[in-house]
């Protein structure tokens, strides 16, 4: 695929977006529900496919994520309307939602299908067209899933071309599309290189940086519960979510108890030489070895030449100081957890700050404590935009087990070089045109109630197959073409030809 051909994909998306932005709430809701249902039904198939293709993650957990990002997402937003105008009589303001238009969705290799489900449904809820740029390592499952969603959406009445996928993704194509003026907004999830490319493209971007999550167990916490939560979170999909805990920080006084609980709950603690071997296997010249991403703990142990019990779910590597040159302070995207013991709560906060500074600014952190003041102090000191409390962070910060917006794209905000601070959600993909009266006016906006500017302008999924204008509207065509032919005859011929054409066109697809 050439950049020019990819440009045509955007061009088609623009037409589709223009048609879609006229749809009303009922039509949009029908399309969203149908697409989500198709996605939900295929959750297992794509979970298996993604694991097979990428070698990353755990099928059962990917099934859960796929369901959360299809039926779960629709349940979450079922009563939210991003289509109809909204009235605020107190402010004398009427607001109309205006979709972004064409969204370029860059999808990572770690969570390919769940991310596609998520971004596609967000776009459908908000009447945007989306072009998906899958990661080359997850290309096959991504392309197939995107096509399935496109077919489901179109069958439910969405304009053709509203969901498209680049079948041969490459870096040059992605860069070309990112900077193409036909792209309205970029949704980029992935490494910091992708994020920076998105922001330097010249197009608006909702692009989020990587995470590197510290978790602190305070002495006041329910220790066994905290450890259970953390290990379950680490084991979830083998830590491929960017919200997985990276470094566990504890006060030295509870260190031995934490170690005992970790081992009891299925972690293997790799001290001394074992830890050195593991670092060597996981980091090559300081960079994370992509082979270990999303792998089972036992597989990674074997790669490192370290023997652990077969039931091991998580590898824990203790280290002394949170400094950049300590490899275990970096993001691991695998069921490997750093463990550092510190002398005081103040030192714990400092350690957590350092973990985040090394590679996860603005992302997330977690704390296990019974002390509200501790939560407040932590949140005020550590530069993250979400802090989960007494819950595993993988699913917690993603909003799957907390009140945060369920999301596969977590804003890292100004701290993390992003314009987006919250969990990406449908409202981020619409602007609102505000119609404002003087606040001093006496307008209760009652006359606006029930008014709706959106009406379908196309006949369905695509404008109909173009037929000659004398086939569908004989009265429009004049000047001799029909001279001497009776209207009844024209109508009779017209019907015959339309029937014939329909027979012909039936199998012709887009023509």
């Amino acid at each position: 695929m050439t950049p020019e051909r990819a440009g045509l994909v955007l061009e088609q998306a623009r037409w589709a977006a223009r048609a879609f932005e006229t749809y009303d709430a009922a039509s949009v809701s029908r399309i969203v529900e149908a697409t989500a249902e198709a996605a939900d039904l295929a959750a297992t198939k794509y979970a298996e496919w993604a694991v097979r293709e990428t070698g990353m993650g755990v099928v059962a957990d990917k099934v859960a994520k796929n369901k959360a990002c299809s039926s779960g997402l629709v349940d979450e937003y079922r009563n939210r309307d991003f289509v109809s105008p909204r009235l605020d009589p107190d402010r004398r303001v009427i607001e109309l939602p205006r979709p972004a238009g064409v969204v370029l969705g860059v999808v990572p290799t770690t969570n390919p299908v769940a991310s596609i489900y998520f971004k596609v449904l967000l776009c459908l809820m908000t009447r945007n067209a989306i072009v998906i740029a899958p990661h080359p390592r997850a290309k096959d499952c991504s392309v197939d899933a995107a096509r399935l969603l496109a077919a489901a959406a179109e069958a439910a009445g969405a304009p053709r071309g509203v969901i498209q996928v680049l079948e041969e993704p490459s870096i040059p194509i992605m860069e070309a599309l990112m900077s193409d003026p036909r792209t309205d907004v970029i949704l980029a999830t992935g490494g910091s290189a992708v994020v920076r490319a998105a922001y330097s493209s010249g197009n608006p971007a909702l692009s989020v940086g990587p995470g590197n999550v510290p978790t602190f167990i305070d002495a006041s916490a329910d220790l066994p519960a905290a450890v259970r939560e953390i290990l379950a979170s680490k084991a979830f999909d083998n830590s491929v979510l960017c919200t997985n805990e990276s470094v566990l920080v504890v006060e030295r006084s509870v260190g031995p108890a934490v170690r005992r609980e970790l081992q009891r709950a299925g972690a293997a603690i790799l001290d001394g030489e074992d830890g050195v071997r593991l670092r060597r296997a996981m980091f090559d010249g300081g960079n994370l070895n992509p082979e270990v991403i999303g792998r089972d703990a036992t597989w990674i142990a074997q790669l490192a030449g370290v023997s652990v019990p077969r039931s091991t779910r998580v590898l824990v590597v203790p280290f002394a100081h949170v400094v950049d040159e300590e490899l275990m302070t970096h993001e691991k995207l695998s069921p490997v957890l750093g463990l550092v013991e510190v002398d005081s709560v103040a030192a714990a906060f400092e350690a957590c700050r350092a973990v985040v500074s090394i590679g996860g600014a603005g992302h997330s952190a977690s704390i296990h404590t019974e002390d509200p003041r501790m939560v407040m102090d932590f949140a005020a000191r550590v530069p993250v935009l979400r802090l989960t409390v007494n819950v595993g962070n993988s699913a917690g910060s993603s909003g799957l087990t907390t009140g945060l917006a369920p999301s596969m794209t977590l804003g890292t905000g100004f701290m993390g070089g992003s314009s987006l601070g919250a969990n990406l959600q449908p409202s981020h993909l619409v602007n609102w045109t505000a119609c404002a009266y003087a606040t001093a006016s006496v307008n209760d906006l009652e006359a606006y109630r029930g008014l709706n500017p959106w009406r379908l302008t196309t006949g369905g999924p695509v404008p109909p197959w173009p037929v000659a204008s004398n086939l569908h509207e004989p009265e429009l065509i004049q000047s001799g073409a029909h001279a001497g032919v009776s209207a009844a005859l024209i109508e009779q011929i017209r019907r015959l030809v339309v029937e014939e054409l329909e027979g012909l066109v039936g199998g012709a697809g887009s023509g």
Partner: protein, 428 residues
């Protein structure tokens, strides 16, 4: 002004006076008199720039030559790449590019077309088509429609409207018969003698202002041809290449042509090439005597490269879908302008992105053409029916440019309505 390494253009006034002196005084003076002082300089996408700097949106596209826009980057890249190795080639030998294009054309053609004979332009390809039909049927007579236009070469000229043939004493009424368009009875009479080699029809006659074939007309003509053993030639030079939402407009009819002629847009406006696609029967002469028709420039290899890329782009699913959207857009938008001034803008003929806009004045389209020109759009009247404007949007138009075109057309059509109504006024 162009100031290249090997060519430097003089000033615009000098270009015009040189054109009048050395090239074509009649044409040059015609445009000057019509108020269209255009010397096309830069061109890109669907835009043209006059030497004076004025920008125009091109809706003429030279009859579809620039379907994919001017200097389409992908077609350009293909030709530039090929020039590193190829030139026009030797027309006597098999060639890599010609074989590839022939295959691509046949694989995307309507069923029953099996061979390709190349020309350098549409007229030559029509001549090939007519010669093929005559050889296959061993009959001479050719039937076309009144006001037909198939090019300016020998047989093509003779089969078209006598506006051009008579002038050069090249009309041959004994062998070339014309019948009114959309009149099956007249066609039946013309074919009754059993001495007709072929009927040639543009699927929608372009130069006549795109009058649409009545439902069943094309099918009826084909049935009549079969009855008297005449071949059916579909001239798709202007109607083909996705303009109607199908690669060839004839595909929208239940008809299998014996010969299909293509030219103009086939090579994306980068290098001239045209082709006649022949059925087994029409192309039998290629087995009997492969040297019977020769053309040094026909099937030139750089043209083949340009055509291969053009065909590949044109047949992409995204492109077909865009034609659906764009034709729907203009159908709706033009109907609104029509509704606003129905006494002046009296009719819309449309099939996909082929439009004939009818105006209530025998030369109405000339007024509209000039008004459009003043408002930044270049579209041309129909030579053989100047009441009708040929309106031919490109197949890769963006929604934004469509909006702009419609806005400008709305203004221009309304602006010239009063001028045309003034008694005794004539343009040009």
């Amino acid at each position: 002004m162009f100031d290249g390494n090997t060519f430097q253009s003089p000033a615009k006034s000098e270009v015009i006076s040189d054109s009048e002196t050395y090239w074509n005084p009649g044409k040059t003076r015609f445009w000057t008199a019509a108020g269209i002082d255009l010397v096309i300089d830069r061109r890109e996408g669907y835009y043209l720039w006059d030497m004076g700097g004025k920008r125009l949106i091109d809706l003429h596209l030279n009859g579809g030559t620039y379907n994919l826009g001017h200097r389409n980057p992908e077609v350009m890249a293909a030709v530039i790449d090929a020039m590193g190795r190829f030139d026009m080639g030797n027309h006597h030998f098999p060639s890599m590019t010609r074989a590839a294009l022939s295959r691509a054309l046949i694989e995307t053609a309507p069923n029953g077309l099996t061979r390709v004979a190349f020309g350098s332009g549409g007229g030559e390809a029509v001549d090939i088509a007519l010669k093929s039909a005559r050889h296959a049927t061993q009959k001479r007579k050719i039937v076309s429609v009144v006001k037909a236009y198939h090019g300016h070469t020998g047989l093509a000229l003779a089969t078209g409207d006598d506006r051009f043939g008579k002038f050069f004493l090249s009309d041959r009424t004994d062998e070339f018969v014309q019948v009114p368009f959309n009149d099956l009875t007249a066609m039946e009479t013309a074919l009754a003698g059993g001495d007709v080699a072929a009927v040639i029809l543009e699927t929608i006659p372009a130069t006549y202002g795109f009058p649409l074939p009545q439902p069943g007309y094309i099918e009826g003509v084909k049935r009549l041809c079969e009855r008297v053993d005449a071949l059916y030639i579909a001239d798709e030079v202007q109607t083909g290449l996705m303009r109607t939402g199908a690669l060839w407009a004839i595909e929208k009819h239940d008809v299998r042509p014996d010969i299909l002629v293509t030219g103009k847009g086939l090579s994306g406006g980068m290098y001239p090439i045209a082709a006649a696609l022949l059925s087994d029967r029409a192309g039998a002469w290629l087995d009997e005597d492969g040297f019977a028709h020769m053309s040094t420039f026909g099937g030139a290899e750089l043209g083949c490269i340009a055509a291969l890329k053009t065909l590949e782009i044109t047949t992409r699913p995204e492109v077909g879908l865009m034609v659906h959207y764009v034709s729907d857009f203009f159908a709706t938008g033009l109907a609104e302008i029509h509704a606003d001034c129905p006494d002046w803008f009296v009719g819309i003929r449309q099939n996909g992105l082929i439009f004939g806009l009818e105006f209530n004045h025998p030369e109405g389209a000339k007024y509209v053409m000039r008004s459009l020109y003043e408002h930044g759009v270049w579209a041309i009247f129909s030579t053989l029916d100047p009441a009708v404007l040929q309106f031919k949007p490109g197949i890769l138009l963006s929604p934004e440019l469509c909006d702009e075109i419609l806005g400008r057309v709305g203004i221009a059509v309304r602006a010239c309505r009063d001028e045309a109504a003034r008694p005794g006024r004539r343009v040009s």
